[in-house]
Amino acid sequence: MPQVDLTVRVGGDSAAGGIVTTGEIVARIAAFSGLEIYTTRTIPAEIKGGHVMFQLRASEEPVYSQGDDVDVLIAFDQESIDNYHSLIKPNGFLIYNANDGKPPAEIGERIKQYGLPLNDLAKQINFTRGRNIITIGAMVKLFDLPYDKAVEVVKRQLGRKKELLDQNLLALKTGYDYVEQNISQESPYHLIPPSGGVQEERLVMSGNQALAIGAIAGGCRFYAGYPITPASDIMEFLAAEFPQINGTMIQAEDEIAAINMCLGGSFAGARSMTATSGPGVALMVEALGHATMTEIPVVIVDVQRAGPSTGMPTKVSQGDLRLAIFGAADDAPRIVVAPVSVEDCFYQMVNAFNLAEKYQTPLIFLSDQDMSVRVVTLPPFDMERVKLEPRLLWDPKTSSTNNNGASGNGSGTREYLRYKVTEDGISPMSLPGMPGGQYTAEGLEKAESGAPIYTPEAHTRNFHKRARKLANALKDYEAWKMYETFGDMDAPVAIVGWGSTIGPVKEAVLRAQSEGMNVAVLYPKLLYPLPVEHIGSFIQHREKIIVPELNFTGQFGRMLQAQFERDIVHLTRFGGTPLAARDVYDTIKQAYQELKVKA
């Protein structure tokens, strides 16, 4: 057990401003001070106004989930006190705005309370919007965080305008001094362990940032997209970076245009991607089928949010798995990859581009709202692990004739067969500009040359070709270790999951194992084609298979049922919030109880 493992929740009305900023700055100060952090937040769909919650968990050891209970609640208003005080652990603290809220009497002695007269303090320094930074200053003192780190973070995060920065630094000091003078000289809580915390290098970033950097590392140089929460900042990130590296970023008129621009860009030779959320993917379904049919590589990021339809744009869900895999007219196989963490967003993006290019296929990358906005500490990306797999290009020299249809000649029939039926299903691709490589990318069923053809034989053969091609990805799955396993490999109870639920699962499994309930966990990151052999051998001798996921029907679980004809315990949650470690723990316990009854 780590010495430090602190969960801080910040709540307030977004109209007052800065709730998320407060959280992010506190989180960064903690990170800069040598702690590992993990954050989450809920945002109202309103632009301004509406309740906002930010949660930080900090520890000197890696943190896997947002934490089920709260050590410290920072409540900017009465609503936050009312909503959350019951989550505070015994001996936790409540820090609240004494000018705008009052803890209910029943809290009593259970928790420590610090009322800060935030409005008064802000008025003193003539900076009404400074309440959040004052609070941060107070926390720095309360938690005995290094003041210089706090100053550094405030400078980085809010240092754009000199004047405002000075005000903010004053606010920081005001909060710090208030606690020192009015609450306690000595900091009541020492957050930094005596060891000084984590010494290794750390980045502090969100899933969307890691993902966008991963795209650049993965060779992506063409992006077309349309804004949508919670994917927009991927586009915004690349809008700033791509022009510097000869890449192209286009804000398209809609998602249909975006994906078609990507198909054009990729056809022309650029590694291409678009990022969106469920409603955008819904609009891309036709083009996705077309990408499968024309065999054009393209990466589509789906930052899943709670639906259906407009739903709850700022809440999390894992509800698009089936859309990602099956969203097509007729059987149009594609690759589906799901990263499991912020850090993993980087590495899986690299894999995603490599797979899409290798297999000349659309690839859907399933992130989620929670992972996308969550800020965590992570080790710097290991560029040694980044290896680019090229697209298999046609080589005119290996062609039986290399000047057919070429410039300067122009006669004769085409020899280049764009859709050549090969053993592994992959056909060498030519790029515009290559003499003799001319062909038409074709959405109709076709002969090897690309010329339309409608015989049952060609259609049947091409279905096999398109599927066979993707099956190769299973080898990469093994070779690139596109999965995580942990726990006890001999356990009778297994958890097979996907995506960002891995964090709470890790935590729950640690707890369960410490109580003698062993669990074997597998998180494949390649979801289609499904690594049937690997999953199959993993679950073969288990007595219970738990599949946790954030959707109503248990989409992944049902896929496993269809594949393995095995009974599955569906641990489904669909409230728009991340999975709680406690729910996973309870399910494990239940599974063990049932095993006992059976025995």
Partner: protein
């Protein structure tokens, strides 16, 4: 009076090929007499006269009889889904500005399902040539009214007569900011070839509407022969007001170059952005640096 068109900086060495050298081995599936045959011939002729190497030419299309066009050319081609030819062509051009990119298709593809993309390609001034083979009907789906079908037309989907006032493609192009706007007729091959050449040569988004009758579902050859005529000699293509006046004429359907304007192309503008953005060496280490604690 035609203002000297700004020519594209040819990124290729001109080749010396005959129109037939641009013909692929896929046989057109069009009905005998279809206007699209004429457009195809003029196109072969135009690109041959311009000396464009087939491998530097990309033709994108959507779905429709006219959408089958790319496969009949020995260039690179992209037969996209219905209505999405402009985003496709934009992607190709922006990824590889040195290519000559043409977009082709029908009136339904362009102005019904594809309507949403047209003003955007035009306003961005993507340096592509868009040739719409307008037969005022849905050919491939066997004869329903299209967005350019005249009022009153009785076809399968409008058995009591069409009540949807037709769109005016030229006006839409002009209102959207297209920098080259012209109109041809597939029965006027010489003029059409010239228009195709001018459209391709124009630096920026060129929109060329070509009346290309559908003999099977809506034979308008005679009609167009009667109502089309060359743009008046005194029309000045740099005068947008004049272009609009002639474009709005319902009685006379003028053929020729309505409008032409010089404005930075999308790839040029983006090059500008790249210059502005680039501040020396770039490395991911540097990018990560911003996130180091």
């Amino acid at each position: 009076m035609l203002s000297e068109p700004q020519t594209i900086p040819l990124h290729f060495d001109k080749v010396n090929l005959k129109p037939n050298d641009y013909k692929s081995d896929v046989k057109p599936i069009w009905c005998p007499g279809c206007g699209d045959f004429g457009v195809l011939s003029s196109f072969y002729k135009a690109v041959s006269e311009l000396g464009i190497p087939p491998e530097q030419l990309v033709i994108a299309s959507g779905i429709g009889c006219s959408g089958r066009f790319p496969a009949f050319c020995k260039s690179y081609g992209f037969h996209g889904v219905h209505g999405r030819v402009l985003p496709l062509a934009t992607g190709i051009k922006m990824a590889r500005p040195e290519l000559v990119v043409c977009a082709v298709g029908g009136d339904g593809d362009a102005f019904s399902i594809g309507m949403g993309h047209f003003p955007h390609a035009a306003r961005r001034n993507v340096d592509i040539t868009y040739i719409v083979m307008d037969n005022e009907i849905y050919g491939l789906t066997k004869g329903q009214a299209s967005p350019t079908s005249p009022l009153g037309l009785e076809k399968k989907s409008t058995p009591y007569g069409n009540v949807d006032k037709p769109l005016n493609p030229l006006m839409l192009a002009l209102a959207s900011g297209a920098t080259w706007v012209g109109r041809g007729f597939s029965s006027k091959p010489k003029e059409m070839t010239e228009l195709v050449k001018q459209a391709i040569t124009h630096k920026g988004f060129s929109f060329l509407q070509i009346y290309s009758p559908c003999v099977t579902f809506y034979d308008t050859y005679d009609h167009f022969k009667q109502v089309t005529k060359p743009l008046p000699a005194d029309h000045n293509p740099s005068d947008k007001g004049s272009a609009m006046k002639y474009a709005m004429d319902d009685e006379n359907l003028f053929l020729g170059i309505y409008y032409q304007e010089d404005r930075p192309t999308y790839d040029d503008a983006y090059s500008g952005i790249r210059q502005k953005a680039t501040k020396g060496a770039y490395s991911l280490e540097q990018v990560m640096g911003k996130y180091r604690r």
